[in-house]
């Protein structure tokens, strides 16, 4: 189980002469095999949560633990799919996956899983944006991590490609129900993917609402789903205003 115990995270920028409290007193539990989506407006601390889970940053206060053991540094147990291009451009797709693979004999299997068999020997520069992210997912799956952390992996793709890749990801997830924390600010995507959806309100970032979603496959046009979507949209809208207000007061030197 992945756990946040009253975690706060602040960044200080000495050159700018100011600090930002990105997260404040966050308590959170992600259970084994759960698919958790985290949504929230820009700057509310979504990436910060993932960085803490990935061990790429440490909390200012509180504890982040995996099965009761503090996460202090990156490890192969914590697989991250980054928002930006993260494939090494000088290696072929296969080599990128192979360098991460726990079991080298499974590399081609992972490439097949994300539908890139034909492009195994291509360089990343020969792939489209969606294909690059699929390759990055194959790489992270090949690590066979305990937890899959995904920071807006399809954020830069068009809606059509995004929903295709969401479906592909679900199909992969259905095979072994690995724990996934998936950050997005796309409500439709969160509704398609998550067992639970957590909304983060900004500055300081705090979980303010959680939705439990039912069985899959989901009918997005059912009354329940439409209600939940409306509620999420209303909350997101409110957060975006809120972040605007808080921005202004922060400039006036509020704590």
């Amino acid at each position: 189980m992945l756990r946040f115990e009253s975690v706060s995270k602040a960044y200080v920028d000495r050159r700018e002469g100011r600090g930002v409290v990105a997260l404040r007193d966050v308590d959170l539990e992600v259970s084994e095999g759960e698919f958790l989506c985290v949504i929230g407006p820009s700057g509310c601390g979504k990436s910060t949560i993932l960085r803490l889970m990935a061990g790429m940053d440490v909390p200012t206060r509180g504890m982040v633990t995996l099965d009761g053991i503090a996460i202090e540094r990156p490890s192969r147990e914590l697989g991250m799919v980054f928002q930006e291009d993260s494939l090494l451009p000088w290696l072929t797709v296969r080599h990128n996956v192979a360098m991460a693979a726990k079991d080298p004999t499974l590399v081609d299997g992972y490439l097949d899983l994300v539908g890139l068999t034909e492009f195994a020997d291509s360089r990343p520069s020969d792939l489209s944006g969606g294909m690059k992210q699929r390759a990055a997912i194959a790489r992270t799956l090949a690590m066979e991590p305990r937890v899959l952390l995904m920071d807006e992996p399809f954020g830069s793709l068009d809606e059509q490609t995004r929903s295709e890749l969401d479906q592909a990801l679900l199909n992969i997830w259905e095979r072994d129900h690995r724990t996934v924390v998936f950050v997005t600010h796309n409500i439709s995507e969160a509704l398609r993917l998550g067992d639970r959806v957590l909304l983060l309100t900004p500055r300081p970032g705090r979980p303010s609402r959680v939705w439990e979603l039912g069985e899959r496959p989901r009918n997005m046009d059912s009354d329940d789903m439409i209600d939940i979507r409306k509620e999420m949209e209303a909350w997101m809208g409110r957060c975006e205003c809120l972040s605007g207000l808080i921005d202004i007061s922060a400039m006036e030197g509020a704590p």
Binding site: P74, S75, M99, S125
Partner: protein, 286 residues
Amino acid sequence: MSKDHRSEVDAAIDEGKGVFEISRKGRWPRYALDMVGALAIILALWSAALMYSNLTGGVAFPTPLDVGASLWGLLAGDKLLGASIYQHTIASMGRWALGYGIAVLLGIVIGLVLGTTGWLYGAGMNSTNVYQLIPGLAWIPIAILLFGIGNIATVFIIVMTALPPVVIATASGLRSVPPVYLKVADMLELGPWDRFRLVLLPSSALQVLTGLRVALGNAWRVLIAAEMVVGVAMGLGFSIFAAQGALMWTESLACIVIICLIGLLFERLVFTRIEDGMRSSLGLEG
């Protein structure tokens, strides 16, 4: 010349072709045109120098034809200051290779140290930047004090001027590896060697190459200058200087032409190719 192959494009559109050939005949490739243009500019400047020299009535300035003839003779084996032009060239290139080789090895090692140890980086880069400001020839007194007159002093001067670009390029190349690649390396728990081999080296290689290229030019220029002063008995720089002393102006200019040609050869043929090859093997094209 049909500009932009207009008629061929029109024909292809009319005939509904998808892919079509364009004629190459009668068209000079771009680089050939650039070369001819460059040559024209050089000759124009040369003519200006000729005219000026005629006006002021000094020693007759060698014409391009004079120099061409002299160059031809030298290449055919005429002796200059007791040695063939090939011996002079080999002597210079030998010093160049030695000095440059030492600078590259030393520079890469220093750059690796600066680029991988956080606390040394700032101090090291600042001092290298300051030291880079010392003009090559300012090393001459130091070289002579340390090593006396001769080959070692020349090589020392080359090393000192070729070193900073290599150090700076290596250290800053290692420092400018995109952070997301470092995160990937951390996440995969790569060992130090794999981290270097798979991440640091490939992502800084192009920048290092640029440093090597600048260093090569620095080394070549200072070599020629150093040979004029530091008292070696053979070499292109020495030839330019000694020929001028013997009032052999034409030969002096012929040696300058050779120096330019050698520089051009390395710049265009060697480095440009290495860089293109490296770009494609790093997957950076397209």
